[in-house]
């Protein structure tokens, strides 16, 4: 090397670029030998690199499964959230349902057309109707189920 004062980063980058290129063109066995002579634990390096690649491959292959898990968890949270919006007892569910219809006359008219007499609806019908209304977002405006 000359005694020239070291200057720009670009000069060093060029040297390092050439070094990288020399690694690129060198036979692997030659590089292995060099690394061994330099005292590097080549077996450990190779095992670590292989393990990381295989692990990355495994994770990549598991992505659809992870997506399904996320969807499942998300759906579960939705269902739990919905159940919290629906009252706990048949009487309070009926109260919640009728209150909802009172506040939504259009909805009430539609349901009356379907069921003629809303008073005849049993708890299963009401629960099911509340669940469907919740999916449609009709319970979102409510502060929650009526007090028990």
């Amino acid at each position: 090397m000359s005694g020239k004062k070291p200057d720009s980063r670009a000069e060093i980058e060029r040297i390092l670029d050439h070094l990288a290129e020399s690694i690129e063109s060198a036979p692997p066995e030659e590089l292995l030998e060099e690394a061994k002579k330099a005292g590097a634990d080549t077996k450990k390096i190779a095992e670590g690199t292989k393990e990381r690649l295989l692990s990355a491959l495994k994770r990549f292959e598991q992505q659809p499964l992870q997506r399904a898990r996320q969807r499942y968890r998300s759906n579960l949270a939705d269902i739990e959230g919905r159940n919290q919006k629906i009252a706990d007892t048949p009487a309070s569910r009926r109260e919640q349902f009728l209150s909802l219809l009172t506040r939504n006359p259009v909805l009430g008219r539609k349901l009356t057309m379907q069921h003629r007499d809303l008073e005849e609806l049993n708890d299963e019908d009401i629960t099911s109707a509340l669940e469907e209304l919740d999916i449609l977002g009709a319970l979102d405006d409510e502060s929650g189920p009526p007090d028990e």
Binding site: E11, I12, E24, A35, T49, A56
Partner: protein, 215 residues
């Protein structure tokens, strides 16, 4: 081998996960060492443009690009090693361009996200935990030398090797191998190649864990 993107009856060209797994299993110790050394050298050459990225990150990025088919691997055109090395080169160049534009590229692991239960979310890429620097890399991350120190080390390392000095000086000035061979009488293709090997060997011996950060 999958034939994604290929029409019916055409020869499959793009490798799928099973091809990749077979390719990994077929690599030798020397191949893995080459990948690791090349990745480290490329990141060293990036200098500050590498940001917090390590050679491991670069290799993982290249591997991920292959899996996600952002960079297609066509085994009938290039082998697995060639694919990864070519991809690392290209990614490193992209990082450099971004760095020169004032942005430092961050490998996927730096964007790792976890869910409420601490599980790793599948995007952006779950390779993260495996691309954490190993103990040697962490040590290397802490080691950095100045540009002056690095060049002084090189000067001392090759003070007894005129051809190496000439090659390094030429590289610093931006000359290519063929240009050096054409311009310097002492260099033939053979002597230049052996000089480059000596340079590489001595540098490897001096820094077996990889060249430190030159700041």
């Amino acid at each position: 081998m999958s034939n994604r993107g290929a029409g019916e009856g055409t020869r499959p060209t793009i490798a799928g996960p099973e091809d990749v797994r077979r390719a990994i299993e077929s690599l030798s110790e020397a191949d893995f060492v080459k990948l690791e050394r090349y990745a480290g050298a490329r990141v060293s050459a990036l200098g500050a443009h590498a940001g917090a990225n390590t050679g491991t990150d670069l290799l993982q990025e290249a591997f991920l690009a292959l899996l996600e088919e952002r960079r297609h691997w066509r085994p009938d055109r290039v082998d697995f090693m060639g694919q990864l090395i070519g991809s690392m080169k290209s990614i490193a160049n992209a990082w450099k361009r971004k760095g020169e534009g004032g942005r430092v590229e961050k490998a996927e692991r730096h964007f790792r996200r976890t869910g409420e239960e601490g599980e790793e979310l599948e995007t952006p890429i779950s390779l993260a935990s495996d691309s954490q620097p190993n103990a040697e890399e962490q040590l290397l991350l802490k080691v950095s030398i100045t540009q002056e120190e690095f060049l002084a080390e090189l000067a001392e390392m090759f003070s007894d090797d005129l051809l190496a000095e000439l090659a390094l000086e030429g590289w610093r000035e931006g000359m290519s191998g063929p240009e050096l061979i054409a311009k310097i009488d002492e260099f033939t293709e053979k002597t230049f190649a052996s000089t480059v090997r000596r340079i590489r060997r001595r540098i490897t011996k001096r820094w077996p864990g990889g060249i430190p950060n030159v700041r």
